[in-house]
Structures are given as C-alpha cells and as structure tokens.
C-alpha cells in the first residue's frame, strides 16, 4: 500500500466539498432570521415553527409517507418474486420481455412513465388520488427492488434450498424458511430504497396525483418555482436530517449483522 498521493487527496477533498457544501449552506441558512435567504441576520429557529404550523405541508407529508409505505411494501413483495423467478427459472416463454420490463423502468425518463401511467388511469376510469400514486410508484420501485435482491441471489448457495427440498419441504416452505431469511438484508435494503424513491419522486407523482392528494415534493416544487424561501430551507433541513439518521442507523445495523455472521461462521 503506497498510501494516497497528493493528487488523490486533492480529488477527494474537492469532490466531497462539491457534494456537501451546497447542503451545508442550505442547512445553515435555514436558521437565518432574515426573510432574505442570502443575507445573514442572526440565528433563529422561527422558520421551523412556520413549517410545523403549515397545515398544507403537514397534510402533504402525511400523504407522502402513506404512499411511500404502501408502494414500498407492495414493490418489495413483487420485486422479490420477480428476482427469484428470474434467477431460478431457466428459459420460459416471454423471459426476454420480462427481463426487459424489469430493467427498462430503471432508466426510463420519468416524464414518459408518468404520462403513460396517467393515460392508463384515465383510459380505465380510475380516479386520481393516493391509490394511483401508489400504483405508479410500486411499478417503478419493484424494478429497483428486483435488481437489489437479484444481486444477493447471485451469490446464494443453491444447495441449501436443495437440501431443504430433499428433507421434504415444499418449494414454498423452502423459500420461506431457507431462502428468505438468508436474502432478508437485501429485501430490507430493497424496501428502504423503494421507500426513499417514492418519498423523493416529483415527476411521476405530479402526473398521477389528483387534486385530492398532493405529495410533499409537489408542494415543495410549486413553492420553489417562486424562488428561494427560508421556510423551504427549514423543511429541507428536516428532511435531510431524517434521511441522514435513517441511513446511518441502517448502515450500523447491517454492519453489526455482517460482523455477527462472520463471528458465527468462525465459531461454527
């Protein structure tokens, strides 16, 4: 190990400065007394009070969380099924189409996905609201889940499943009692990814949301279009804080699980 050269240190410093300075500025200025976002006028938490008292934000946040919870849950079930089926089945009719439909939504421009789903909902006469956003988010999130779960299934030792089958398990029992516990970390990671993608989505939600259901990104976008406001800075800081804590907790938990498994492997 030669250690880091000066060039590498400079790239890392500049790179992470680029990634983090905008967010740091955003967070710092959310505590600004002044209504003018770029002029510092003393420390204040009044904008957080404004956010918490803003009924429209709270309503939208509640819709967003519900949508994310339901779509992530359904997407995790569907995505795990799809990943397992793709990994365990050889050739079957329509396999290419299936794998195409799993990969395409990952790179499909959101405006196209949003538009096409909206036109579907109108064609079948489904009223736009929470349900339509959940259906839309589930569809693209299940593809992400399926990719995350497949990458875990690739390194999975198939003989464990075969042993379970030999010992008299039905395929479903083998899946639930052998496969699922082993791939559980990937399934959980998939759920978290689906949940965040749904929380984050503006474009697809804008197409599929009706007047009865507005999500937080839609709300933020419409006020951001009018310019920077300290209230949005405060709201953004709250969101950044929640995400940071969530990601850190998830990574500590998964690291602990990995060390535990390594220890078990050594002991056993």
């Amino acid at each position: 190990m030669r250690g880091l050269s000066a060039f590498n240190i400079v790239s890392l410093t500049l790179g992470f400065a680029f990634l983090y300075i905008p967010m740091v500025i955003l967070v710092v200025y959310s505590f600004n007394e002044s209504k003018l976002v770029t002029v510092w006028a003393g420390f204040s938490t009044k904008w957080y009070g404004e956010v918490v008292r803003n009924e429209a934000f709270l309503d939208a946040a509640w819709v967003t969380v519900r949508v994310a919870f339901f779509s992530a849950t359904v997407a995790t079930v569907l995505g795990t099924m799809a990943a397992y089926a793709m990994m365990r089945r050889g050739a079957f009719v329509g396999r290419t189409l299936f794998s195409g439909m799993i990969y395409a939504p990952l790179v499909m421009p959101e405006v196209i996905t949003g538009l096409s789903l909206l036109l579907l909902f109108i064609a079948i006469g489904l009223d736009r609201g929470v349900l339509t956003i959940v259906l839309a988010h589930t569809t693209f999130a299940m593809c992400y889940v399926s990719v995350v779960v497949s990458s875990r299934l690739v390194s999975f030792d198939r003989s464990l499943e075969e042993a379970a089958l030999d010992l008299g398990c039905t395929p479903l029992q083998a899946f639930t009692s052998v496969t699922l516990p082993i791939i559980a970390p990937a399934v959980i990671a998939g759920w978290l990814l689906a949940f965040t993608l749904s929380l984050d989505d503006l474009v697809i939600a804008s197409f599929t949301a009706g007047p009865s259901a507005t999500t937080l990104p839609i709300k933020i976008f419409s006020s951001v279009r009018l310019g920077v406001s300290p209230e949005i800075n405060a709201l953004s800081t709250i969101i950044i804080g929640i995400v940071t804590v969530g990601v850190l907790v998830a990574s500590v938990l998964s690291k602990r699980q990995i060390t535990r498994r390594q220890r078990e492997a050594v002991d056993g």
Partner: protein, 295 residues
Amino acid sequence: MLRLFTAIPYVWLLILFLVPFAIVTKISLSDYAISIPPYTPTLDLSEGWAGLRGFFAALDVENFVFLTEDDLYWKAYLSSVQIALVSTVLTLGVGFPIAYAMSRAPEAWRPALMMLVILPFWTSFLIRVYAWIGILANEGFLNQFMLWTGLIAEPLQILNTTTAVYIGIVYTYLPFMILPIYASLDRMDPSLLEAAEDLGCSRLTAFWHVTWPLARPGVIAGCFLVFIPTVGEFVIPSLLGGSDTLMIGKVLWEEFFSNRDWPVASAVAIILLLILVIPIVLFQRHETRQRERGG
C-alpha cells in the same frame, strides 16, 4: 410456485408498464379535441366492429408531422441529447478522480467514503437541485464570494442559464458515476500497478494499460446511468435553466400541463423513447455481459 412468482409481477408489469405505452402510442395518433378526455377518437366498443373500424380509420400520423414542421421540437431533442452528452463527459471528469482516489484510500476508510457518496443519493433530488438556486442566483453565495475576492466586478448571470443546468446535472448524478467506477476499481489488485512499474512502465502508461481496462466496465455503466435519464430530465432545467435552455422533458411537461395537448405530448414521448431505445438496449447488453463475466 415459481410459476406464480413469475406470473404476478409479470401481469403487474404488463398492465402498468406495457399497456400504458400502447395507450400513449394510440393517443399520439389521435386528434386534439376540446372535450374530456381532450382527444378524439375514443374507443367505443359498444358499436362493435363498425366502431372499431371507425376508430382505426380516425388515427393518423398528423402529430408526428407537426413535430417535424415546428422547429421547437427537433431543436429541443437535439439540445437535450447535446446537454446530456456534455454533462456525461463533465460528470465523468469530476467523478473518475474521486472514484479512483477512493479505491486507493486505506481499506479502513473505504466504507466511510462509500457512505459519503451514497448519502446525497438518498437525500431528496429536489432539495439538492433547490440548494443550487441560492448559490447560483445573482445575489447568491457564489457571486457574493467572487465579488468579495475581487475575481469579478459585477455579478454573473449563472442561474437560469445552461451552465446552471450543467452544474445541477453533474451535482445530482455524480453518485451514479462514482459508484460503478469505484466498484470496478475496488477489485483491482494494486500489485498489478507495481508489477507494471517494475517492468518499466511509466505511471501514465501503467494507468493506461492496467487501470483503465479494469475501470472501463464501470465507466461505461456510469456514462449510461447519467446519459439516459438526463436526456428526459425535467426538474433541473425547469428550476436552474432559463428560457434559452431547451430540453424535451420540459417541452413534454408544458405541452401536457399548460397546453393540455395530450396527443402532441404523447407524440413527443414516443419520439423521446425511440431516441433512447438504442442506449437502453446497449446498456442492458453491457450489464448482462458484465453479470455473466463476473458471476
């Protein structure tokens, strides 16, 4: 059981992914109408065969002809592809040194560095784009800073220009470039480089003959991951771009929400999809090949 595991997601994707595209195609061939829904003809199965025949007879490629006649659209397509290409190259330029340095960093640091790259990716896309408005505005932090250092005499117009769009894209898509490159460099054995240097290679030739071939799959994946979604990007051009920043995602959005011309919006979507089919297929083949090779 495997049949069931295939069938349920399959049917879901057929209904919510494939059928919607058929509907978009159909509406792109329809005519604009002042009604609800705002297009004609609508399929009326109650009239049986005659209804179905009349329905197909009423479809035409008028909207696509319209797209080729109006300068706005092909200019928007062209400039979207151009902006996406330039941003991909810029993101590669910024991302590669970071990914390379991460893969050279001491083993103990790497998980933390990974975490630092992934964290912004989990944070709201919208918020990360929004953060730049305050920085790039005329009275924003960047201009204040440059005025203070005496680098410029009066504020530069950066927000609402294509430059701001480039900055926004590089910033938000950077993790998509860093992670695949880092993943392919991480597996590299540093003794390979030492061997190359022992055998008389200069650092640059060693990089070119050893590091680059190993990094290439990651670079290709990263470029696709940045290029494809950027072509249809909407949020960044509408928040950071100006009136001269033409991007097709924004055109589609306005056609749909402001002009309420659903048939033209659908035609715009179909052409955008046709443009992206080639890179999407290439990307899938690249990924499949890498998976088969990597096991």
